[in-house]
Point group: C2
Chain length 315, copies 2
Amino acid sequence: MSNPQVIGVDFGGTSVKLAVVEGKNLLSEVSRIPTQEFRGPDALIEAIVAEVQGIRETHPDVKAIGIGVPGAVDFPTGMTYNLTNVDGWTNIPLCDRIREKTGLPTVLDNDANCMAFAEWKYGAGKGYHNVVCVTLGTGVGGGLILNDQIYRGTAFAAGEIGQMSIDFSGVQGPYGNSGALERYIGNRQIEEMATKMYQAKGVPVPEDHSPEALADLARGVDEVAKEAWERVATYLASCLMSTVYLLNPDAIVIGGGVAYAGEVLFDPLMTRLKESLTVECYDHLAIVPARFGNTAGILGCSAMASDLLKDSPGS
Amino acid sequence: MSNPQVIGVDFGGTSVKLAVVEGKNLLSEVSRIPTQEFRGPDALIEAIVAEVQGIRETHPDVKAIGIGVPGAVDFPTGMTYNLTNVDGWTNIPLCDRIREKTGLPTVLDNDANCMAFAEWKYGAGKGYHNVVCVTLGTGVGGGLILNDQIYRGTAFAAGEIGQMSIDFSGVQGPYGNSGALERYIGNRQIEEMATKMYQAKGVPVPEDHSPEALADLARGVDEVAKEAWERVATYLASCLMSTVYLLNPDAIVIGGGVAYAGEVLFDPLMTRLKESLTVECYDHLAIVPARFGNTAGILGCSAMASDLLKDSPGS
């Protein structure tokens, strides 16, 4: 059975990206609506609907819409609960609005779940049954596939790996959560940590000490950059170790900008995990870089939209 | 539909306990076989079978057997992987042996899963859908119910809450896992911590400073004992907070000897969790003491045996 054509809508703080998707293939250019140019949800929803209708003129076979948003959602009703970096989006029935205005079956989930679903269905997590997906960027996000299904949790808030603690008396996270992982290995935190490490060694701080630059330096002869990545690996390993003891997954998929560091992160990470897990858990665990980059969101919500058609009796 | 009569076998390091169970009711006295008096699995399996056959003479309607063991199992094959505090039980096909010798459908799982299943089906976790069960004793164990099913993980090793880290640079656990929770709040660790706290304050250490005794003292005017329990709550809260951010459960059930401390543990625990969780997660979360004590294991494996009959076509 071939996959239906659907429209994937990846709602981000900077832009809302739309594309026609069939399985894991994009059938159209990705079009972008600049999120911040619209005041409030009504105007932006109108713009999304207009874009969708435009796309349907060139792709009349589109059968459903999937939307991924950067924040908490009420999954069954398709309401946004609140969105990170986008104001005014509390309790907006986004899914209903798009469905009503387009007449197409529509599904809404948060972007971390979309990413996890895409990686499990088509990407690095394919063939595994219990997959923990982590995205490392400005913050740290996550999504879970358990027993071959997205696990969303009671209030659809599961997978918040960045808020898990690696130190009961550590740096406070945004919710009073001491030791929150993302306060150690978010983009900015890595830069700050590296800066301090260079200064402590009396070594001049490289002008560009972004995670990408630090990864390049660590692949060379820069011992401080190497050490910085080893520390990132130690923090991340601690949290993933806890996750493995709790969930005993068969795969951990790691994506997001920080994951582009590659082996300077993955090598020490694997070493730490091997040192701290039972043989049983480690031997059943694959630790793999994400396959999809920026398109993971669009592919994931599209796959959910596609499943929507499978599940409905009329399809 | 009424529940069938089954035999529950709770395999412990000290004794193997057996009883006839119907639903959540014990229909017979619990009989005990002293585990350590038998050398190796063969002799002990013979003794268990003999006890089962004896029980069937007085309870001829028994239809299945459920067994809970203290350690890792290979769930589909019913093999013991290894048992805590019982030597010589590596890779023993316990489930098959009992099934063959008794002719009854038999199921085997680890005791933490049995406890979680009993609490979810009949006890403190009843009516919830995503339940994290924790047992606090010599070690710290756990079992998970996710989407109304036991979640066992890839190698049937999920739920090892005691091995999760609360400090990336903390005390090492048995597998090289720094900050392992059970190295902070196991029975013995609580006693040692309290001893040091009394000494640091120049207060004589109470002769009985077991967790039970410390709980009694904390309910009185003993400020050190109170502080000791607050510290236990801080450690436990850190791990449970991480668990909630990852799984967003609707209930955490806390059992085991240490949990008998009651409000001297639960009050500060709730406070810490409220301080460190999102409103969304905390509002959907019940934190409840386990309902069943020593019978949780027998009830849980019996409930699994009972379900075995439901699932099989001939029942």
